[in-house]
C-alpha cells in the first residue's frame, strides 16, 4: 500500500484541519478536507469510482460521516466501511465516527455526473437518471460504453455484482456491464 512517509504527511494535514473544529469556518475546512479524503476512497468492486461518486457518502460533518449501502446484501458494504475508516484514520480523522443509514434508500440517481463518466470510461454503461426498472420485455436500451451504439440487448438482469446487469452490443458484438437502475 502507500509508503509510510506519505501517510504521515497526510496525517499532519488532517491534524491541521482537525485543529480548527471549534469555529464555523474551521468546521467547514475540516468537512472539506474529509470530503477530499473520501473522494480518494475507491469502491472495492468498481475501483474506477469513489464512494463519493457513487453517492454512498450521504453527509459529512466534523464529527461523523453518514454512509448508506447500495444493496442490503452487497458484500462490499463492510469493505467500504473499513476502507473509509482506514482513510479517515490515515488523515488524522480518527475521532470522526462512521454511521450507517438505510433511509431514504440509496438510488442510482445519486451517482454523480462525474461518476457516470468514470463508469462509462471504465466500460460500464451508467444507469439512466430517474428511470425505473423495467421488465425483460421492455427494458430500456443501454448505450454501449465501447462503441456508443444504442443497438444493444440485455443478456441477464443480474450480473457480476448486485448493482450490475449483463448486456451485449449488437453493433460491436462486445458484452458489457450495465449499472442497474435502482
Amino acid at each position: 500500500m502507500s509508503a509510510a512517509p506519505a501517510s504521515m504527511k497526510s496525517a499532519e494535514t488532517g491534524a491541521n484541519a482537525a485543529r480548527g473544529h471549534a469555529g464555523g469556518q474551521g468546521e467547514a475546512a475540516a468537512v472539506e478536507e474529509i470530503m477530499r479524503v473520501l473522494a480518494g476512497v475507491p469502491d472495492p468492486e468498481i475501483p474506477a469510482v469513489s464512494v463519493i461518486d457513487l453517492g454512498i457518502v450521504r453527509d459529512a460533518n466534523a464529527t461523523r460521516v453518514l454512509i448508506t449501502p447500495t444493496y442490503t446484501g452487497c458484500p462490499a458494504t463492510l469493505a467500504i466501511e473499513q476502507a473509509i475508516r482506514a482513510a479517515l484514520d490515515a488523515n488524522g480523522f480518527s475521532a470522526v465516527a462512521i454511521e450507517t443509514a438505510l433511509s431514504p434508500p440509496w438510488s442510482s440517481d445519486w451517482i454523480s455526473d462525474e461518476g457516470r463518466e468514470k463508469l462509462r470510461a471504465y466500460g460500464i454503461a451508467p444507469p439512466p437518471k430517474g428511470a425505473g426498472a423495467a421488465s425483460l420485455k421492455n427494458a430500456q436500451a443501454a448505450e454501449c460504453p465501447r462503441c456508443g451504439s444504442g443497438n444493444t440487448e440485455e443478456i441477464s438482469r443480474f450480473g457480476s455484482t448486485p448493482c450490475k446487469a449483463l448486456w451485449r452490443c449488437k453493433a460491436c458484438a462486445e458484452p458489457f456491464d450495465r449499472f442497474k437502475c435502482h
Partner: protein
C-alpha cells in the same frame, strides 16, 4: 416464541422468511442451467440474506438479550424458526424453484410496500430499502414463469408441476395471528389478509401471460409461524448451521 416481545417476534418472521429463501437459492450456486441464471439466483439469494441480516439484527435488538443476526441465524434449532413453509420447500428442478420464488416474491413485494409505511422507522427503513430489490425478484420469477409455461412441452409440464406443489403453501403467507395483531397495534404490522386480492391479481395476470391455469385448490398447509415445519427445514439448517454446531462460538 411466546417469550419474545411481539415486535421482536414480528421482525424475526420477516428475517426468517428472507434467510431461508436466501439459503435455498444459494444451493443453486454453481448448479443452475446457465451461467446467467446462476448469477441471477445468487444475486436474489444475496439480497434475501442481506434483508435477513437487517431484520434478524432488529429482532435481536428489540429482544435485548445480546443476540445478533448471526446468533439468531446459526444458534436456533428448527422449532424456533418462524419462516413460512413455502420458503423451506426444496428446490426440486429449476421450474419448481421458479414457482416458489414467483409466489413468494409477489407476496414479499406487496408486504414490504405496506411495511414501508410503518410508523416505526426501524421497520420502514429496511422495508423501503428492500422493496426495490424485491421488485427485481418478482420480475425475474414472473418472466421465467412465462418462458417455461409458454415454452416447450417439457418446460410447461415442469412449471405446472412446480406450481401445483407450491400452491398449497400460499394461504399461510396471508394468515394472521396474535403476533400480527400485536404488531398492528404497535403501528408496525401489516394486514396481510388485505394483500391477498392484489397478490391474486398479479399472479393471475402472469399465469394468463404464460398460458397457464391456476393449480387446482388443495388443502392449505400451515404451521411455520408457530415453529411447526416440514422435515426439509431441519436438513437445510444442518448444512447452514454446520460450523456453529460443530465448533460452537467459532469466529474468524
Amino acid at each position: 416464541m411466546s417469550t419474545l416481545p411481539p415486535l421482536a417476534a414480528y421482525a424475526m418472521r420477516l428475517g426468517d422468511d428472507a434467510l431461508i429463501v436466501g439459503q435455498r437459492l444459494s444451493e443453486w450456486c454453481g448448479h443452475a442451467p446457465a451461467l446467467e441464471v446462476d448469477l441471477s439466483l445468487a444475486n436474489v439469494a444475496l439480497d434475501q440474506i442481506g434483508q435477513a441480516t437487517h431484520f434478524l439484527g432488529l429482532a435481536g435488538a428489540i429482544e435485548g438479550k445480546g443476540r445478533d443476526a448471526d446468533a439468531l441465524a446459526f444458534r436456533r434449532d428448527v422449532m424456533d424458526f418462524t419462516n413460512c413453509l413455502l420458503a423451506e420447500q426444496p428446490n426440486g428442478d429449476f421450474a419448481q424453484t421458479i414457482a416458489r420464488q414467483f409466489l413468494f416474491s409477489h407476496y414479499q413485494e406487496l408486504l414490504y410496500a405496506a411495511l414501508a409505511a410503518a410508523k416505526d422507522e426501524r421497520f420502514s427503513a429496511i422495508a423501503a430499502k428492500a422493496l426495490k430489490e424485491v421488485g427485481y425478484h418478482a420480475t425475474l420469477a414472473s418472466d421465467w414463469v412465462v418462458r417455461l409455461g409458454d415454452g416447450t412441452e417439457e418446460s410447461r409440464t415442469r412449471i405446472v408441476a412446480g406450481l401445483d406443489w407450491m400452491w398449497r403453501f400460499a394461504d399461510e403467507l396471508f394468515a394472521m395471528d396474535d403476533v400480527d395483531a400485536a404488531a398492528i397495534a404497535d403501528g408496525v404490522g401489516v394486514d396481510k389478509a388485505a394483500l391477498r386480492g392484489a397478490w391474486d391479481q398479479r399472479v393471475d395476470a402472469v399465469l394468463a401471460d404464460a398460458t397457464l391455469e391456476r393449480p387446482p385448490a388443495r388443502r392449505p398447509v400451515v404451521g411455520g409461524r408457530r415453529g411447526r415445519h416440514s422435515e426439509h427445514l431441519g436438513r437445510l439448517l444442518s448444512e447452514m448451521q454446520f460450523l456453529q454446531r460443530a465448533y460452537p462460538g467459532a469466529t474468524w
